[in-house]
């Protein structure tokens, strides 16, 4: 399925406008001038030990990292995704970078003002969030968390929300019990690398029966040149608890490709629910396809207990390359997994993204809503697996994978995989491909709406089912992001 049109027809005005819209420069391209605390280039056992020592980790952690490192040396980068890129020189990367602050700040006053300014430029002023939105932000710039808010309030409920480096020191029993149980250090090339060198990320624990009263949010940012970014996030929702977690990111403009290999593990125990939302807007490279982030992410949730639920929502507009399959392992009986995705590619961006729904328990249900949007000369692939184990009686899945094309130089591809081992399973898959039509644009033009706004409206309408899943402020941000990402694209 490849609707790429090879005909070299002349561009119509509409196409020209689409081109202009997608040609817009990346608005968040800037670099924060903060002193970096860098390690030598390359990766070996000493570097792994140094990372662990730097973070004052207990021995079990150092050993786990080393096991991962040794495993990683045996692995090769996967070649099966529909992605083309120059090989990453792993021995030329820096594996650790952190802003030079002696002690973690106790309040916003202690945070580097330049850092706060960075957030201002991104339109996410921390103090505003704190006061108005009631969101607790675990701000991550480069690898180490520099600001954590609302900790006390959450603490009263027994909720732990902190940098994972802190959790390793202060709650080693929880980390030891759950880290690597959903994404083992042997899982895949990128996850294994992450296990060896992860620098920081978020840790969340919600005690039994507690409903987290606010959206937990973490803003990730890649800041140092040539620094691989290896975030590690671990979220545990104990029995009967609920948490909604937001992850959003933008990055400064850089010429060289930057590697990002994050791992996110979610664990939902009996009757627990985790909602994980992402808006991803890393630098996508310039109009000629130079630069941009390589984003190789492993995200997986385990519905460990009966009637547990994990819901992934992602809006992916950034990165030169996206390789990402947020998945659910439905182990508990009657557990539910959901995946809502909007992936937008423009210019020379490439995305190979989707999900895996692994049904192990009885009466497990999963829902997949995927909306791909391709513009410019980009390629967008949906890759999804629905697997029903032989013991998973009465498993149900519904998948809907839609592709929207803007212009005639882009590609959309759908790769659904089904592995059904139980005859009682009910699995449905629907797929559509459509184009933003000239008729639609003209209709909106004729009502006074500019072509840029018209395309933004049509695309937002198309992706509405997914946006509805996002928390309110995030949905507004995401819609704005879509328009920004499409600027210069109508072509």
């Amino acid at each position: 399925m490849n609707p790429v049109n090879d005909e070299n027809s002349t561009m119509s005005d509409e196409q020209q406008t689409i081109q202009n819209i997608t040609d817009q420069d990346y608005k968040y391209g800037f670099v924060t001038d903060i002193e970096m605390d860098e390690f030598p280039q390359g990766l070996n056992e000493d570097i792994v030990r140094m990372i662990s020592a730097k973070k004052e980790e207990p021995e079990f952690m150092t050993n786990w990292r080393l096991k991962a490192y040794r495993q990683w040396r045996k692995l090769k980068e996967p070649k099966w995704p529909k992605l083309e890129y120059d090989e990453v020189e792993y021995d030329e990367l820096y594996y650790y970078a952190a802003p030079k602050t002696k002690d973690a700040p106790k309040s916003l006053d202690e945070v580097d003002p330049e850092l706060l300014e960075t957030f201002d430029k991104l339109g996410v002023p921390l103090e505003e969030r704190e006061l108005l939105a009631g969101v607790a932000v675990d701000a991550v710039i480069d690898s180490v968390s520099v600001a954590t808010t609302f900790k006390d309030k959450l603490g009263e409920l027994g909720i732990i929300f902190c940098p994972i480096s802190e959790a390793i020191k202060e709650h080693p029993e929880l980390v030891k019990k759950y880290l690597g149980t959903v994404v083992p250090y042997t899982d895949n090339f990128y996850a294994t690398l992450n296990s060896a060198v992860f620098s920081d990320g978020s840790f969340v624990y919600i005690p039994p029966g507690v409903r987290c009263p606010m959206e937990l949010s973490s803003y990730f940012r890649i800041n140092a040149s040539k620094t691989g970014q290896f975030e590690r996030t671990l979220i545990i929702a104990d029995k009967g608890s609920y948490v909604s977690y937001l992850e959003g990111c933008t990055a400064p403009m850089r010429d060289e490709n930057q590697l990002h290999a994050a791992v996110v593990e979610l664990i939902a125990l009996e009757d627990a629910e985790i909602k994980y939302s992402t808006v991803q807007n890393w630098y996508a490279g310039n109009k000629e396809g130079v630069g941009g982030i390589f984003n190789f992410v492993t995200k997986r949730g385990l519905c460990a207990g009966a009637r547990s639920k994990i819901s992934w929502t992602q809006v992916e507009t950034g990165s030169a390359i996206t390789w990402k399959y947020p998945s659910c392992v439905l182990k508990g009986d009657n557990s539910v997994g959901e995946f809502y995705s909007v992936a937008l590619t423009n210019n020379y961006q490439q995305a190979d993204t989707g999900t895996k729904m692994i049904h192990l328990g009885k009466n497990t249900r999963s829902l997949i809503i995927s909306k791909g949007i391709s513009a410019g000369k980009s390629n967008n692939a949906y890759r999804g697996l629905v697997k029903v184990n032989n013991k998973a009686e009465n498993a149900r899945n519904y998948s809907q994978c839609d592709s929207l094309l803007i212009g005639d130089q882009c590609g959309a591809h759908t790769y659904p995989y089904l592995e059904i081992e139980n005859p009682t399973a009910q699995v449905e898959h629907e797929a559509t491909t459509s184009k933003v039509s000239e008729d639609q644009i003209f209709y909106l033009n004729q009502r006074g709406i500019s072509t840029e706004d018209a395309v933004g409206m049509i695309v937002s309408g198309y992706a509405r089912e997914v946006f509805q899943q996002l928390p309110m402020e995030f949905a507004v941000e995401a819609q704005a992001l879509m328009s920004v990402s499409l600027e210069g694209s109508v072509g």
Binding site: D13, F442, I449, S460, G461, Y462, R464
Partner: protein
């Protein structure tokens, strides 16, 4: 308000309009009739700025502006409205927010303050009564899942909210049953004023029983071959187009 002189338009090299002249003044309703393929819809599309038409000669002035030089959204913001023959579906885009955006673009262009959600809602609810539209259509995506008649009423509702200076109705009567036709025409009649004008393109005289035109023009082979008052429409109803066509062909 609208002054078209010797307008010649072709599509992919094929001439469609071959020297069309039309003068529309504020307060007037003009009906344009004619057989299939005479260029009626082309006229509507060229005036509203649709792509794919090449203007080979002639001019069109609207409020003393060079209409043909303006982007379609600017024409709309200057008060020109096209009621589509086939209204377009926009999946997922809410009918109300679409119309609010459109109105505010027009207001911004005029230098008026944008309407907030509350003021807009009271305006739209008032105008909905004109077209006897069900309120749930406001919550649905633009034209999606609407019946043919609902789509046409939605066009008239948009017209009522946007309050254009010049409205072109492109075969708004096609596919409407008599009740819907009456409602749509009633909407137009309530909107007409000394300051605005309508160009009603239609195939049938029927609509003109409800929207009474000041002038009727017969378009054939890209030219207006006969103009008259509403009596001309009645004559056409009775005698068809053939007698006019024959007359136009024989040089006098």
């Amino acid at each position: 308000m609208l002054s078209i002189k010797d307008l010649q338009v072709s599509v992919e090299g094929k001439p469609i309009l071959k020297g069309l002249n039309l003068e529309v003044k504020p307060g007037e309703i003009h009906a344009i009739m004619g057989p299939n393929g005479s260029g009626k819809s082309t006229l509507a599309h060229v005036l509203s700025g649709r792509e794919g038409y090449s203007v080979d000669a002639g001019t069109a002035a609207y409020k003393n502006l060079d209409l043909l030089d303006m982007a379609p959204e600017i024409r709309a913001r200057e008060g020109m409205f096209l009621a589509f023959q086939y209204p377009i579906e926009i999946p997922g885009v809410n009918n109300t927010s679409f119309l609010k955006k459109a109105l505010n673009e027009i207001r911004k262009h005029r230098g008026d303050e944008e309407l907030d959600a509350i003021d807009f809602l009271s305006l739209i609810k008032k105008q909905m009564k004109l077209v006897e539209m069900k309120e749930d259509l406001l919550k649905r995506p633009v034209n999606q899942g609407f019946s043919g008649g609902e789509k046409k009423r939605n066009e008239i509702l948009q017209m009522a909210v946007l309050n254009p200076t010049l409205a072109i109705l492109d075969e708004t009567d096609s596919g409407l049953d008599i009740d819907a036709l009456r409602i749509v025409a009633g909407g137009v009649n309530k909107l007409r004023s000394e300051d605005n004008a309508f160009v009603v393109i239609t195939h049938y005289q029927r609509l003109l029983d409800y929207i009474v035109p000041d002038f009727v023009h017969v378009l054939s082979d890209g030219k207006i071959i006969k103009s008259g008052t509403k009596d001309l429409a009645l004559e056409l109803e009775e005698r068809g187009y053939d007698w006019l066509l024959e007359k136009a062909e024989s040089p006098s």
